[in-house]
Every structure is written in C-alpha cells, then in structure tokens.
C-alpha cells in the first residue's frame, strides 16, 4: 500500500528519500552489534510475513505495516530491516521500485521509529498490559496515518498535478490505521504479558530475553 513504483516521482524527491534512508540505515547499522544481525534478520522476516496476512476490516481487508511494533522491537534497526524487506519485494516480487527504495523505506520506517521513540518509555514502563496496549494502538494508528501523509507528500512534492489524489489517498489509510491499531495493541498486550523484554530494541549482542 505504501509501495510507490518507479516512474512516478521526480528526481529531487527520489534523491531526498535516498539520502534520508541512507542516514537512517547508517544509524541502525551502527547500533546493531555484530552478533545481533541474525536476530534482526529473523525478526524482519517475522514482520514481513505478518504484513502478508490479510486482516478483515469492515467490508475490505488490509495488509498491516506493523511499523510501530517494529520500532519498539528493532529500535533504529527498523531502517535496515524495512529496506531489506522492500528491496526483496522490489526485485523478487515486483512490488515497489528500485529508484523509490529510499523514499519507500523512509515513508514506512521513519514514522515507526519516531512513534516508538515517543511511546517506548511509557509502553515499557506501564504496569498494566492494557495501558501499554492502548498506547501502542494509538501510536500505531498515528504511525500509519503519518506514512499515508508521507506518501501523499512524496507525490505532492513530485508534481502539483498529483495533489487531488494525494488528498484522497489519506482517506484510504483510515481502515488500515484502524486494523493496525487494534492488532498492534493486541501484540503489545501479548508481549507485555508473555515476554516484556522483547519490547526493548533487540540490537544488543545478547538477547534481552536472556539478560
């Protein structure tokens, strides 16, 4: 849904997205310790698989982004994880594009990373799983709408002819935001009860579950 294809965006937007994505990936790679790389890769595979499940919302169904959850579990590792997943989708399955890889990575990963930064402390500290789940759900909805806003912004910055579409686009993100909020809240509630240490960024040498 947030996969912009090749051939739509202008060169400055592509370059800006690429630069931002490179900065985010650099930040993520610096934080990931060498021994955590397989863990980040396997977690990225889980998020990728989860986003392939279609979830019924009202009369339609959506594929989740899970960006807030990724931000919580992967920390800045969300940038390389999303970039790897998008690269795989672009070259192997034909979703998204090669030149838009940077823009798409930023559109999905940046809101997830920022929302997780904002709510992370509260979610990890909350005594009641319900409160953590509620905060996570609200954050997830906000991140999805921010992704919609960024996709619209990428189109708008590329050509003023895209403006009417960019406005309508946000409306199509509403069911996704709803589904995302509820599922994300459920995952966070589950993790709070079953494995609260998983809600810390899994970028260290030893899994937090062990420590």
């Amino acid at each position: 849904m947030a996969h912009i294809q090749d051939g739509l965006l202008s060169l400055p937007v592509l370059a800006g997205g690429g630069a931002l994505a490179a900065a985010g990936i650099g930040l993520g790679l610096r934080q990931i310790e060498d021994r955590a790389i397989p863990r980040i890769a396997i977690l990225a595979a889980v998020f990728f698989s989860a986003s392939l499940v279609s979830i019924p919302v009202g009369p339609s169904s959506v594929h989740l982004l899970l960006s807030t959850l990724m931000g919580l579990v992967l920390g800045p590792g969300i940038f390389p994880a999303v970039a790897a997943a998008l690269a795989l989708q672009a070259v192997m399955f034909g979703f998204g594009g090669l030149t838009t890889l940077g823009v798409n990575t930023v559109n999905i990963a940046l809101p997830g990373y920022l929302v997780a930064l904002a709510i992370g402390g509260y979610v990890r500290g909350a005594a009641a799983p319900v409160r953590a789940a509620l905060a996570g759900g609200l954050g997830a909805a906000a991140a999805v709408l921010a992704t919609g806003g960024l996709v619209a912004l990428s189109l708008w910055l590329s050509s003023s002819d895209y403006v009417p579409v960019a406005r309508v686009l946000l409306a199509t993100y509403l069911p996704l935001a709803l589904g995302e909020a509820v599922v994300c809240a459920a995952v966070i509630g589950f993790l709070k009860r079953a494995a609260p240490e998983l809600l810390l960024p899994q970028t260290g040498a030893v899994a937090e579950a062990e420590a």
């Binding site: 090749d6 698989s49 979830i55 019924p56 790897a84 579409v165």
Partner: protein
C-alpha cells in the same frame, strides 16, 4: 547480449536506466521505452509477467482515474459533468508506460536471480556488510517463518477459527504475531549458537566476484545509452 549476465552490472544499469527515464514527459520516448523493454522481455523469456504488470497499487488506480479530470486542458470526452482533458489522458499514458516499463525491466533483470548471488553483488558494489547480511538473513528465514505462520493459522482453523471483522479476529492475529516474535528470538539464539559452534568469527568466507565479461559490459552500457538517448529525445 539481451541483458548483462553479471548481477552487479544488472543492478547498476537498471538503476541508471530507470533514473534516466524519470524526467521523461513525452509520450513518444515513454512509449519507446516500454516497447524496448517489452521487446527485451519477449526475446529473453517469450512470455510476459502478467501478474506483476496487472498489480496496481491503490494510489496508482486513483491517479489514473483522476488525472484526466484534474489536469486542465482541451476537452477530450465527458462523463456527466466531468470533462477529461487531452493533457490529462496523455499524462496517464506516459505514466503508465514508464511504470510498466520499469516493472518489466526489474522483472527481466531480477525475478530469477538467486538471492545469495544478489547479496554477493550488493556486497561487491560497496553496500555495508551488515546490511547485506540482514538482507540475506531475511531471504534465508522468510520461507521458514512463513511456514511457521501457516502452521499456526492451520492450527487456528482446526479449532474452528474463522477470520471476520471483529475483536476476536484482531486479537487472535495479534497473539499469533506476538507468538511468532517470541519464537523468532529463540530461533535467532539457536542460529547464533550454531554459527559460533562452527567457528563463525564475524565474516563469511567468500571469494571476490570475477570481473564481468565484455558482453555484459556491452549489454549494460547499451541499455543505459538507449535510455540516455530517449531522455535526449524527450528534452529536445
């Protein structure tokens, strides 16, 4: 000679060609681009990847449906009170040609590429080692994790779970995803242990890729030069 055999050259030439086509705004060059890529695909594979071509993102559909009506210009046809402009229809055709051409090009170059070889090519092009290993790890474990997802979904179906638009469904999917995350971390622990047991010391052994053949250089350069010529045509 149709496409470079070397994945490094494929990556670089595809990226360069698509970037060169990005500013193209004329129907002639855009249609030529699509025709050229179509010819390459048909010559190499004799069949078109219809599923990829027909896959349209939601906003692409929106864009194609609304652009004829929102771009002002000479009226071409009317639907009720809405007037479709010549300029708008032209714009949609150009965009459709560029998007389809790029989708076909990526499919021709990479759909059958082995992920491991793609990883080696990315490494040779100077991508950080950690990024390449995350990519390869994702590719390696995606199949396993998806199978695990499918098993959990099967188990849910066996217990008469039917997905619907309700809280129970969303919570069940949430619990399932949480469970998968938990298992993934345990799996990562085992993977890490297994790797260290076998003497992993922070690097995978691997030999440098051989330099690409002359024919590969020719095919890669040919594609980029053709894209450059189309851009030149568009801008003059």
């Amino acid at each position: 000679m149709i496409r470079p055999g070397d994945l490094r050259l494929r990556l670089v030439s595809a990226l360069a060609a698509i970037l060169l086509m990005t500013p193209v705004a004329g129907l002639g060059p855009a249609a030529c681009y699509l025709g050229l890529v179509l010819a390459l695909v048909l010559a190499a594979e004799r069949t078109l990847p219809w599923r990829r071509l027909l896959h349209l993102e939601a906003f692409l559909v929106l864009l194609f449906l609304t652009l004829p009506f929102t771009i002002p210009g000479e009226t071409l046809f009317r639907i009720g009170p809405l007037a479709a402009s010549r300029e708008g229809v032209l714009r949609v055709l150009v965009l459709a040609a560029k998007v389809s051409g790029s989708v076909l090009l990526l499919s021709l170059f990479f759909a059958r590429a082995e992920p491991a070889r793609l990883g080696a090519a990315l490494r040779a092009l100077g991508l950080p080692e950690a990024m390449v290993r995350i990519f390869l790890g994702l590719v390696r474990y995606l199949g396993l994790i998806r199978a695990e997802f499918a098993r959990l979904q099967d188990a849910m179906r066996m217990r008469a779970f039917r997905p619907g638009s309700n809280r129970h469904t969303w919570r069940s999917y949430g619990n399932m995803t949480g469970m998968l995350l938990l298992r993934a971390v345990a799996r990562a622990e085992r993977v890490d242990e297994a790797m260290r047991m076998r003497g992993y010391a922070g690097r995978f052994p691997g030999s440098a890729l051989p330099p690409p053949a002359a024919a590969d250089w020719l095919a890669g350069a040919g594609l980029v030069i053709l894209a450059g010529l189309l851009l030149l045509w568009d801008k003059t």
